[in-house]
């Protein structure tokens, strides 16, 4: 044991090796996408034949890509707004009110995280056709809100739990009703969580495929467009280029969200 580190901080060789293998396993497959997107060949195979950005250029000139992108942004923004709004109410209710059967209820809300998307997709498809709603970007949004709600709640809950309930009581005590207390105290204090939730749910919706597969009408979202292009081998490098862009943008957005929400105990009294 090194004399300069405490027992709990001392280096652990097997754990370090494990961490490296873990990261390789997680991200190397993904890294093939940007790699081949710069490859000057329509075939995805080694050896790499040369560097090119023409697939990216080609992407820029394709109107359906732009249309699909706009569809995904629209769905993503609507999904982020709805699921975050619902998430705020849910997180507030879970942390602030005495609800009978709270624990099972929270488990129930979190269920979409583990229930296979295909089940929700089929279920919603059946429901939509039964009540006669035509498939469109609206139905995709409904599906995405269901999937994103647990992400939103999971992001917001630590924020709501992170501050002393007496801070809201203090606001009431100083003469503000529930609405003003929310605007003047609760909202600013959970705001980083709200921002993080918006970014995260937008990203989840933006990348989502299964729900979109079942619920898309005539306008495809970006993942649906990628899926439709896989049938054409000559389009494949462009798909790789598109996927690479999506990966980068998703990473940036999610990390931005994490960074904004980095101090979830913000507002907790640090003296106690």
């Amino acid at each position: 044991m090194s004399k300069n580190t405490s027992y709990i901080n001392r280096p652990n060789r097997p754990l370090q090796v494990y961490a490296v293998i873990f990261l390789i396993f997680l991200y190397v497959p993904v890294l093939f996408l940007p790699l081949f997107s710069f490859n000057d060949s329509i075939y995805v195979r080694f050896p790499i034949e040369g560097f090119t950005v023409k697939w990216y250029g080609e992407l820029m000139n394709r109107q359906p890509v732009w249309d699909a992108l706009m569809n995904s942004i629209k769905v993503g923004m609507a999904t982020a707004a709805f699921s975050t709004t619902l998430g705020i109410f849910a997180a507030k209710a879970i942390t602030r009110y005495r609800i009978p059967g709270k624990a099972p209820l929270v488990g129930f809300i979190m269920l979409p995280l583990v229930v296979p998307g295909i089940i929700f997709g089929v279920a919603l498809l059946v429901l939509m056709s039964q009540i006669g709603v035509p498939l469109s970007l609206y139905t995709v949004t409904v599906g995405h809100v269901i999937i994103c709600l647990p992400f939103s709640i999971a992001t917001l809950l630590p924020r709501f739990e992170g501050f002393d309930a007496s801070i809201e009581e203090a606001s009431a005590d100083l003469g503000e009703n529930g609405w003003w207390t929310f605007w003047r105290v609760t909202f600013p204090m959970v705001f980083p969580g709200i921002l993080a939730s918006l970014l995260l749910t937008f990203t989840v919706s933006f990348d989502e495929f299964i729900m979109a597969f079942f619920l898309t009408g005539t306008d495809p979202t970006l993942p649906m467009y990628i899926w439709s292009q896989l049938r054409f081998p000559q389009e494949f490098p462009s798909v790789l280029a598109l996927s690479s862009i999506i990966i980068i943008v998703s990473f940036v957005i999610v990390f931005a969200g994490q960074w904004i929400n980095r101090d979830a105990t913000f507002g907790a009294d640090k003296d106690h």
């Binding site: 007496s166 801070i167 203090a170 005590d173 100083l174 600013p188 003296d271």
Partner: protein, 365 residues
């Protein structure tokens, strides 16, 4: 119920599920009074305070403040403000905005608002702190900000939930004096919750001692200390020696008793009435007992015992004297007016003596 009560708590019960936190509390508090609720944790004092603030509502009974029934009035419409145990300073606002928080509805000009905040900052002796962030403040400073934030609204009643509990001893004693001086300056009714009996004695005009949700005794600090009505109150506030006793003769002015260990003693009657032969307890504070080496000549109330133990506490010493007929040694406290040497001559025969007025008769539990 007297008519001049400013706060009147009438027959208040509070249940949380099946647990009864507050049981049949009846308390009247006068305008401008510094009133304390004293008790150990879980005695219902904080629940009672939260019912005054409106965060909990009584299961039974009613609370009146300034003549108005409070049960239907939400916290934000009550003429009370509270200083929370955790201070509950808004962490996203600076000191100035914290103090000005409650002024929104008064639609004041910005200049007037700043003026009022500066006044409060001067009152709490933190004049330069307006632009500080909440997390840059020490515990004592937060406590004062919480106080200023409540006082700026000129509440009719200020509720304080163990506001000094988180401070260290020196700061706490300083804040106690400041709090008392402040209360006299602003003339607001204070309702103060504490588990610290010394703090309650120092600050309060009157104290309600609570246990198990009930008010055991409501009295002035000296009334509680000098004439506790039950053993529980007596032992909660300071220490006291208790002796089982039987009433021999009772008149309107004095009660004669036969006390185990003490023999035949007389205590002032203090409006108490006991039949002859009643089993009671007689009690005396340690500092009201005198210790001497020889039998004191000037009093009939004297008793010989063995000095078993002593503890030197600087300005005073505690002695424990065992006496025939009782198991527990009698505690005696005396001021060290002269320099004494510690640790010497532990076990030796001594005499205890007292005045009749020092004896208190309690109901046997």
């Amino acid at each position: 119920m007297s008519n001049d009560a400013f706060i009147s708590i009438q027959n208040v019960d509070k249940y949380f599920g099946k647990f009864q936190a507050v049981e049949d509390v009846n308390v009247d508090i006068a305008h401008g009074e510094f009133f304390s609720l004293l008790g150990s944790s879980g005695c219902g004092k904080t629940t009672l305070l939260r019912m005054l603030a409106g965060f909990e509502s009584p299961t039974n009974g009613e609370i009146y403040i300034d003549g108005h029934a409070m049960s239907e009035v939400p916290p934000h419409q009550r003429p009370v403000n509270m200083v929370f145990q955790s201070y509950a300073i808004f962490p996203h606002l600076n000191v100035r905005d914290n103090i000005a928080y409650g002024l929104r509805k008064q639609k004041l000009s910005k200049a007037r608002r700043y003026e009022m905040v500066d006044e409060m900052l001067n009152l709490i002796a933190l004049p330069e702190y307006g632009d500080r962030k909440a997390n840059e403040l020490s515990g004592g400073q937060r406590q004062r900000i919480a106080l200023a934030r409540a006082l700026i609204l000129r509440p009719k009643v200020l509720l304080l939930d163990e506001p000094l509990g988180a401070l260290d001893k020196q700061l706490r004693e300083q804040m106690q004096l400041e709090l008392r001086a402040l209360q006299r300056t602003v003339g607001i009714t204070f309702v103060f919750v504490t588990h610290d009996q010394e703090e309650a004695l120092t600050l309060s005009d009157r104290i309600a001692v609570m246990s198990g949700g009930k008010v055991l005794q409501l009295d002035t600090p000296s009334g509680l200390y000098e004439t506790p009505r039950t053993q529980e109150v007596a032992s909660f506030i300071g220490t006291m020696n208790f002796f089982d006793a039987e009433v021999i003769k009772a008149s309107s002015t004095s009660i004669e008793l036969s006390a185990r260990g003490l023999g035949k003693v007389a205590a002032p009657a203090r409006d108490q009435q006991y039949p002859k032969g009643a089993h009671v307890q007689v009690a005396i504070r340690p500092e009201k007992l005198r210790l001497s080496n020889d039998r004191p000549a000037d009093t009939k109330n004297a008793l010989q015992g063995q000095l078993k133990n002593s503890a030197y506490l600087g300005e005073r010493s505690h002695f424990y004297v065992s006496v025939d007929g009782i198991e527990k040694p009698i505690a005696v406290s005396s001021q060290n007016r002269e320099q004494i040497s510690t640790g010497a001559d532990q076990t030796r025969p001594v005499w205890l003596s007292w005045n009749d007025e020092a004896l208190v008769v309690l109901n046997a539990d």
